[in-house]
């Protein structure tokens, strides 16, 4: 009944599952049913869940590649510029642009920028740090970081209907279905 009253304020419905298999099963069926605005919450990455949820491959590798290219070009460019244009010094008759000697630093900075891109790219795409999220309001959500598996169908989904969606989650075998407050 409370569900009906607060329909406008509900963020979604959260179903709790006990095993990764149950969650995978539920995620597949929810997608087959036509739900799209949903997310699962699990204590560890589950093999096959991304497919079951229908996630596209992440673009993160491209971000990392961009970082690597920037690091490589910046390192080589700086060394080349300083050694040939800005402050050329003749050391033992060696060429100014003695590129083999520039490789170690170029390699290190390529790795550095790529690693920074991987970490900040991952955090940025995930929207972290995020101090508040409605799903934390669910009473048993702390178990998502211990031993329980949750599937949340969000209220912005076109098919979302408090009563039907709740019944649907129950049919999938959710141990408990709770409403997540905004």
């Amino acid at each position: 009944m409370r569900v009906e009253e607060e329909r406008g304020r509900a963020w979604g419905l959260l179903g709790e599952f006990e095993t990764p298999d149950e969650l995978l099963h539920a995620a597949r069926l929810a997608r087959a049913e036509g739900y799209r605005r949903m997310d699962a919450y699990t204590p560890f990455p589950i093999h096959g869940l991304s497919d079951a949820m229908g996630f596209r491959p992440t673009k993160l590798p491209l971000v990392v590649l961009a970082g690597a290219v920037i690091g490589c070009v910046a390192a080589l460019g700086t060394m080349w510029f300083s050694a040939t244009i800005h402050y050329p010094i003749n050391v033992a008759g060696k060429p100014y642009a003695s590129w083999p000697m520039f490789i170690p630093i170029t390699f290190e900075l390529t790795v550095l920028f790529a690693a920074l891109a991987a970490v900040f790219g991952m955090l940025g795409m995930n929207g972290l740090p995020m101090p508040y999220h409605p799903v934390f309001n669910a009473p048993r959500f702390a178990f998502a970081s211990r031993d329980r598996f949750f599937l949340c169908i969000e209220s912005r989904d076109a098919l979302f209907d408090p009563a039907n969606t709740r019944a649907f989650l129950n049919r999938l075998g959710a141990r408990e279905v709770v409403e997540v407050e905004e």
């Binding site: 093999h47 949820m53 050694a83 630093i105 790795v111 690693a115």
Partner: protein
């Protein structure tokens, strides 16, 4: 489920996790070490002693800054000694952490899971101790930023062709990437601690560090990719770092340094020393905290095997150095090896052979590999041996090079020793803080080792309608 038990037990050896554990028991066991109000007496005593030693380092470094490098034993012709020996020793120790966390991840060695977290912490703290030495060895350490390329009024640039400048970039990158790798691995566990902490202060502390991690499937999707890419980046990085460190010597023309075998020989030595340190730390830790279920004999045996293999590579390096000294027919090279074997520092050379070549041979025996006290003793001997190796390479090569009139002796002073022992104190103090405040075993990765963590997979629900739909926003 029977194949699952098999994958944990593989070929009859001890399992990577003792049977009977569940997600909840793994989580509770590891997080309770951190969240418990009771601090074990062993921790208090251990931290106190290491903190005292670290304070010794503070005194030694303060006095060094006040008086200058003259308080150390270095002089012509040995201008590099404890500072660079300790630098190489510490940075080598760090390498095992990256090897365990990155290379073994790529090789799908799942036994790495219970030791990677504290091995990575060990890497970070070892690199911190290592980085200290080149800095304090600068005559004017407050000008250390001159090593970086920055726009300056002197219009000067670092010398890009110098391995010492490469070192700055290699070690700086290594420290940064090691930290990122370690922290990214910690995020889900910090969320677990945030959710399980009872005290307000701890909830806020872990909550801020966890950055709002909620275990979302979409987040895990990107997280796993980021972690895999980081492992792929860290793998060539760790090899490059000790290669660059070895260039510090190999590019110089001193007999005993100018050798192409140095990069592989240094990298193998680094992994050797690092695994010795992981054993030195993990054997007491699993005992004191009752973690034998997670750090099983399987882990100790595997680490012993890695030590044996890298120890043999290092032994090959020693033999090759002697062989090349004879085969090159270069009188200076020849004298270098004779001087190592019979010169004033001969005891260091022979102790090194005993520690690094003879001691690990006991690891051929399964009984030794299965005995934690024996492994601990061998790891300690190897750690000492690896320190002696750097002493022999650096001091013994420098003290008698080309001209007998330029020969000299090196004797470490009390300040040299205080600084070295002080960094051991700093390292241990940081390790003690780490095991008290952060989970020393990766909780979320341990959950994946629990048998029921492996879903039956696609056959559970035959379904083909999901693949080509757009992703939810």
């Amino acid at each position: 489920m029977s194949d699952v038990a098999g994958s944990g037990r593989r070929r009859g050896g001890p399992p990577v996790i003792e049977p009977g554990h569940t997600y909840a028991s793994v989580t509770d066991k590891i997080s309770s070490i951190v969240l418990s109000r009771r601090t074990p007496l062993f921790w208090v005593l251990g931290f106190f002693v290491s903190f005292l030693l670290a304070m010794g380092l503070l005194v030694a470094v303060s006095y060094l800054f006040a008086k200058g490098l003259g308080i150390w034993g270095i002089n012509q012709p040995v201008e590099w000694a404890f500072d660079i020996i300790n630098f190489v020793w510490w940075i080598g120790i760090g390498h095992a952490g990256t090897l365990i966390s990155a290379i073994l991840l790529l090789l799908r060695q799942e036994w790495r899971t219970s030791i990677n977290r504290f091995a990575e912490a060990m890497t970070l703290f070892a690199v911190a101790c290592a980085g200290l030495f080149p800095l304090i060895h600068l005559g004017r350490p407050w000008l250390a930023y001159w090593l970086f390329p920055y726009p300056n009024t002197m219009a000067l640039w670092p010398q890009w062709r110098s391995p010492l400048v490469w070192d700055v970039f290699a070690v700086g990158t290594y420290a940064t990437v090691s930290f990122l790798f370690w922290f990214v691995g910690l995020i889900p566990d910090l969320a677990t601690l945030r959710d399980r902490a009872r005290r307000k202060g701890f909830q806020i502390f872990y909550g801020m560090l966890a950055m709002g991690w909620r275990g979302s499937a979409l987040h895990w999707h990107r997280y796993e990719m980021a972690y895999l890419l980081l492992a792929g980046l860290a793998t060539p990085l760790v090899i490059s770092v000790h290669t660059v460190v070895s260039f510090d010597f190999a590019v110089g023309i001193i007999p005993g340094w100018h050798s192409t075998i140095f990069p592989p020989y240094f990298v193998a030595g680094a992994i050797y020393a690092g695994f010795a340190m992981v054993l030195l730390l993990s054997i007491p830790l699993r005992k004191v905290y009752g973690l034998e279920d997670f750090i099983t004999l399987r882990h100790l045996q595997n680490m012993a095997k890695v030590m044996l293999a890298t120890g043999l590579v290092v032994g090959y390096g020693y033999v090759m150095e002697a062989f090349m000294a004879w085969y090159s027919a270069n009188p200076f090279e020849k004298y270098m090896i004779v001087n190592r074997m019979k010169g004033p520092y001969a005891p260091a050379y022979w102790a090194l052979m005993l520690c690094n070549i003879v001691a690990p041979q006991f690891l051929w025996f399964k009984r030794v590999r299965s005995s934690p006290p024996a492994l601990w003793a061998i790891a300690l001997i190897v750690s000492i041996g690896m320190w002696l190796e750097r002493f022999v390479i650096i001091v013994v090569s420098l003290h008698r090079d080309f001209l007998p009139s330029a020969w000299g002796m090196y004797r470490p002073t009390g300040w040299d020793w205080t600084t070295f022992v002080g960094t051991i104190g700093l390292f241990l103090a940081l390790m003690f803080l780490f095991i008290r405040f952060l989970p020393m075993i990766s909780i979320f990765e341990m959950r994946t080792l629990v048998p029921e963590a492996r879903p039956l997979g696609k056959e559970a629900v035959p379904d083909d309608s999901v693949a080509d739909e757009p992703e939810p926003a």
